[in-house]
Amino acid sequence: MIVNPLRDPRDRRIPRVAGPSVLILFGVTGDLSRKKLMPAVYDLANRGLLPPGFSLVGFARRDWEHEDFAQVTYQAVKEHARTPFNDTVWQQLSEGIRFVPGEFADDAAFDHLARTVAQLDEERGTSGNYAFYLSVPPKFFPEVVAQLKRSGLSDPQPGPDGRKPWRRVVIEKPFGHDLASARELNEIVNSVFAPDSVFRIDHYLGKETVQNILALRFANTMYEPIWNRGYVDHVQITMAEDIGIGGRAGYYDGIGAARDVIQNHLMQLLALTAMEEPVSFDAASLRAEKEKVLSAIRLPEDMATGTARGQYAAGWQGGLEVPGYLEEDGIAPDSHTETYAAIRLTVDTRRWGGVPFYLRTGKRLPRRMTEIALLFQRAPHLPFSATDTKELGQNAFVIRVQPDEGVTVRFGSKVPGSAMEVRDVNMDFAYGESFTENSPEAYERLLLDVLIGDPPLFPRHREVELSWEVLDPIEQFWAEHGKPEQYPAGSAGPPSAEALMARDGRAWRRL
C-alpha cells in the first residue's frame, strides 16, 4: 500500500473513493439489478465516490447492444435512484457502460467479455481491476466461475508498473441450503478466487441501523452495564414481511423461511447483539467476536417445543384477499416448505447464560417490520401497590431495523393525577428525524466497500458455516416430523409459535 500524503485520518471531509475499476454484472435482467444495484452505482457516482473512468459491464442472455443496456440502466436509475438525477453524472457514467450478450456455457461470449474489459482498460484507464457481481442463482456459479478461469478473466496479469491488479467476486445469499452445500459452494468459488477476494453480501449488514448496533453498544456507557443476563430477561429478534412469495416460487419452495432469513439476516443480528466488544473495528477483530458468539449458540433441548413453523393459508391481508401458500403458482399442493419459522436459542457465555433468544420470521404477517428487542427483568421489588403498577410492563430496549429506523426505550412513568399510578411510556429516537434523507442505501455502502476492498461488513465463510451448524439440526427435525401448521394470511403466525412463548411464560411482541 502506498502512502498518500493527501489522505489524513483527521480530514473527515474527504470521503473514501474507489480506485480505477470495472464492475461486471452477471444477471442484469433480475429485479435486484434493476431496483438496487444499478441505482446504487449511479448514487455512488453522483456522490463523487466512483473513480474517473469507472465502467460497468453487463452480461446476459439478451440480444442487446451497449446502448440497449445503457437504456435499461437509465430507466432503472430514473425510477429507483435515491439521489436526484444529474445529467452530467449520467453522461460520464453511461460512457463507461458496455454489454456482452451470451450464455454461461458459451466460451466465445466470455472471450468477448475478456476483450471488452481489456479494451476498457485501454480506453478508460480502469487499470485491470475487476469486480464480478454474480447476481445469478447459485446453480450457475460453477459454470460462471469456471468460465472466468478459462477465459483468464480471474487471473490478473501484472501491469507495466509491475503492480498486480485485483479481482473480487461478489455473491448473494443463499450461501448454500445446508452446511454441506455451503461448503461445496465455497470450494467452487475458492478454487478460483482467494478467500480475501470473495465478498458475500448480506444487505442487512449494509443498513445504517444494523451498523448502529455497534455504535450504540460500544460508543456509549449507559447500555453496556445492563446488556447482560443480570438485567435482560430475554431477547426477541423479528423479521416480519407482509408480502407472500410473489413470483419467487422457484427459489422459495424447498428453501423456506428459516433458510431464507434466519440463517443469514437473523443470525447476523443475533451475533451483533450478543457479541463481546471487539478489540478494534477491523475486519479480523470483528469477525473473531462474531464467530465466538455464533459458536456459543445452543439449540433447544426439545425441538418439538423449542421451534415452531407455519405455512400461510388463504386469508385477508391488509384489506386484500390473498391465496394460501399451497395455492400460489408453481407450488406443489403438498409442499412442506415453511413460510413462518420461530426458534428459541440460548448463547452459552457468561454474559448471556440462561437468557433465551427468540428468533422469528414469516411471510404474510400483518406488517413489514424488522426489530431487535431486549426485554428487561421486572424490578425485584416495587414500593407501589399492585393496582398502581397494573399497567407497568417489562422495560424494553428496541432497535427498529426497518421501517421507521430508530430506537425505542419503554419504561414506566407516573400518570399525571393525584394517585401514584405507573404506566408504560415510550422514548423514541428516529433516524428519519435526526438525520433525514441522508442514509445511503445498503447496496451503495456494500458496493463501495467491494470496490475499495474493505471487508468488515461481509460475512466470512466460517460465519456462514457456523449458522448452518445451528440450522441444520432444526431443518432435519422438521423434515422428519410432519408438516408446517397453517396460519391465516394477515395473522401473527401459527398457534404453535404462541405456545412456544407461552410455555416460557412470555409472549411475542405485537407485530
Binding site: R7, R13, I14, V17, Q92, R124, R163, F429, E433, S434
Partner: protein
C-alpha cells in the same frame, strides 16, 4: 404555520413556538442543532432558503438575526415559521435601534438545549468570528470569504483571527476537488516536484487548495488566474511527466496522467445548501483547515513584501 409577532419579547416567542408545536402534534422532537444566521434584509431570503433545504437533512431551529434601522428606538419583531417546508422551526428576528447591539440577549434564550449551536454569516463576516457576540454562542462558526467584498483579503484576515471551530465555505467548496486529488494520488505516480492551481481571479478556494497541497506534499504550489468558471485546473509536475485534472466547463473533470488514457468524471459546482449540509455533518474543530490557513498566510502575503 406562520406567526407574526410585532414589538415582542423572547418570552412571547418561546410561548408561540410551544403553542405552534402543540397544534402541529409535537414536530419539534429530534432537532439536532440551532443555526443562527446573521444577515441583512437584502440577503436573508436566499440564506434562509438554503438553510431550510439543508434543514431537511439536519432538522434544526433556524434563528435569523436581521439588523434594521439602528437609529430607531429599540424594538423586536419576530416571524415564526413552523412545519412549512422543513422539519424544524424558523424564526426571523428583526432588531431595531440599540437592541441590535444586544442581539445575543435575544438569541441566547432561544437556543435549543442539549444540542450544538452553529452561527453562519452568509455575507460580510466579522474579522474575528469567535469574538463576535453571535460567534461566542456557537461551537461552529461559518463564514464565506467569497461573498465578502475582497475575498482573498478577507480570507487572510479570517486566518489571522482563526479560532478552533471556525470554518469558511470557500474551504467547503474545495472538498470535491480535494477528494478527487486524494483519489488521484491513491494510484502510484512519480515523485511530485511542484504544482499549479488555475482559477478565476479572486477565488479564495483556489488559494486554500494551493496552500493545502503545498503543506501536505511539501512542494511549492502556485496559483494562476484563468478564465474560470471557478477552478479550472490543478496540475503537478512529477518525475514521470505532467499530471493534471482540468475542468474547463465547471461540470466534467478530465484526468490526464503520463502514459495513461484520459479519464473523465463529473465534478459539478455545489450550491449553498450542499455546502451547509457538509458543514453540519461534523461540528468539531477542523484541524486540517487550521493547518491550511496557517500555511496560507505566509504564502499569500509573500509577494507583497
Amino acid at each position: 404555520m406562520m406567526i407574526d409577532l410585532t414589538e415582542t419579547t423572547t418570552g412571547a416567542i418561546i410561548d408561540a413556538l410551544r403553542q405552534a408545536r402543540l397544534r402541529l402534534g409535537g414536530v419539534a422532537s429530534g432537532m439536532v442543532l440551532t443555526l443562527v444566521i446573521v444577515t441583512d434584509e437584502g440577503e436573508q431570503y436566499d440564506a434562509v432558503r438554503s438553510a431550510t433545504v439543508a434543514a431537511r437533512q439536519h432538522p434544526c431551529r433556524i434563528l435569523v438575526v436581521i439588523i434594521r434601522r439602528p437609529k430607531d428606538r429599540s424594538r423586536l419583531d419576530a416571524e415564526i415559521r413552523v412545519g412549512e417546508t422543513a422539519p424544524g422551526e424558523t424564526v426571523l428576528l428583526r432588531m431595531y435601534g440599540p437592541l441590535a447591539q444586544h442581539a445575543d440577549s435575544v438569541v441566547t434564550p432561544l437556543l435549543l438545549p442539549d444540542t450544538p449551536v452553529v452561527t453562519w454569516w452568509p455575507g460580510m463576516p466579522p474579522l474575528v468570528p469567535a469574538e463576535d457576540p453571535m460567534g461566542t454562542l456557537a461551537q461552529r462558526r461559518i463564514t464565506d470569504a467569497a461573498a465578502a467584498d475582497a475575498p482573498e483579503d478577507t480570507l487572510i484576515k479570517l486566518a489571522a483571527g482563526y479560532h478552533p471551530g471556525d470554518t469558511d465555505l470557500s474551504w467547503t467548496r474545495a472538498t470535491p476537488w480535494r477528494s478527487l486529488l486524494a483519489a488521484t494520488l491513491d494510484q502510484p505516480s512519480g515523485l511530485i516536484t511542484g504544482g499549479t492551481v488555475r482559477a478565476e481571479a479572486g477565488n479564495p478556494t483556489a488559494d486554500l487548495i494551493a496552500a493545502w497541497l503545498s503543506h501536505t506534499l511539501g512542494v511549492p504550489v502556485a496559483t494562476e488566474p484563468s478564465g474560470g468558471p471557478g477552478i479550472t485546473e490543478v496540475s503537478f509536475g512529477t518525475s514521470d511527466g505532467e499530471m493534471s485534472i482540468s475542468r474547463p466547463d465547471g461540470r466534467v473533470a478530465h484526468l490526464c496522467r503520463p502514459g495513461q488514457p484520459e479519464r473523465r468524471v463529473a465534478l459539478h459546482r455545489r450550491d449553498t445548501t450542499e455546502l451547509l449540509d457538509e458543514e453540519f455533518r461534523r461540528l468539531d474543530p477542523d484541524d486540517v483547515y487550521a493547518e491550511t490557513l496557517a500555511q496560507l498566510r505566509p504564502q499569500l502575503t509573500a509577494p507583497m513584501i
